[in-house]
């Protein structure tokens, strides 16, 4: 019977006849390049990691500060205006108590 399974097996059997004659030795300079890359990568992990994460942390903190200022803008402005009122009234009291 010419079943799909036998069709696949005949194709695979034919494909197995093709031998890969390509060279399997490492190309010139490949091992040197990889070894240099590998050690360069391993040598700078802590400082590089710290630098990467501290920049991210700074960015995140700035964003958080902006968001909190924006979210509390109305209460901050109310506070500023009420402190202006306070200083004006204390000046009047000062004039009454010390008229000279």
């Amino acid at each position: 019977m010419n079943t799909p399974d036998s069709q696949w097996q005949r194709l695979a059997a034919a494909a197995r006849q093709v031998r890969d004659e390509r060279d399997t030795a490492a190309p010139s300079g490949f091992a040197t390049r990889v070894a240099a890359h590998a050690f360069a990568r391993v040598e700078q992990p802590f400082s590089a990691l710290f630098a990467r994460f501290s920049w991210r942390a700074l960015g995140f903190a700035s964003l958080l500060a902006l968001v909190s200022v924006a979210a509390n803008y109305s209460s901050i402005s109310a506070l500023v205006s009420s402190s202006d009122d306070d200083s004006a009234s204390s000046e009047i009291v000062n004039e009454i108590v010390n008229p000279s």
Partner: protein, 195 residues
């Protein structure tokens, strides 16, 4: 084949001491093993040297984690296999298999396989190989790998399990799923040919 006289334990010891010459020797020793895996499972549009380099860099990054529970070559081949699978997954869309995309010789081989029960002629082996890879491209990366190792490299389930690190039951499930998909594909191709 890797050099049998190579002092792997000594070389690994030197690599742990950050000896760059030892790292070079290790790469040269393992290159034939890695390049065979890469060539057998190389995704489209990826250079074999780039992929091999990625595998070796992963090996050096994780080398401290190697505890010797499996032979070092198996440990490296698992890294190679998973890296190839990741690359195959990254391709995302698999090209649809169409008769129109086959070369004349590939179409001839496929037609002969679908319509008669004779073996493929030795002269058509190259076309058959190309065709097989196009058919395998239709499978999921993991299934593709299992069928490649099972039917083309004629490895046993146990050997595939060692190479990939997957349990034997998982290898069998993947092989079953891949064969079912191939069967559907052949039925579809036959229907397309008739119409």
């Amino acid at each position: 084949m890797p050099d049998e006289t190579f002092d792997l334990a000594g070389c690994l010891e030197r690599v742990h001491r950050r000896d760059q010459a030892a790292a070079r020797e290790l790469v040269e020793h393992l290159y034939p093993l890695v390049i065979r895996i890469v060539r057998a499972h190389l995704p489209r549009r990826v250079a074999e040297e780039d992929l091999s380099q990625e595998i070796f860099l992963k090996m050096f990054t994780r080398i401290e984690q190697y505890k010797g529970s499996v032979p070092f070559s198996h440990w490296v081949s698992r890294i190679a296999v998973t890296t190839c699978i990741d690359q195959l997954r990254a391709q995302k869309r698999r090209p649809e298999f169409r008769w129109a995309d086959l070369s004349e010789s590939e179409a001839g081989v496929l037609d002969s396989v679908l319509t008669n029960e004779r073996d493929v002629a030795p002269d058509d082996a190259l076309a058959a190989s190309e065709l097989v890879h196009k058919l395998l491209d239709q499978l999921k990366p993991e299934d593709q790998l299992v069928i490649q190792l099972l039917d083309l490299e004629q490895k046993s389930i146990a050997e595939i399990s060692e190479t990939t690190g997957w349990k034997q039951s998982l290898v069998k499930v993947r092989a079953f799923r891949a064969r079912r998909k191939l069967k559907k594909l052949f039925e579809e191709l036959k229907r397309m040919e008739k119409s």
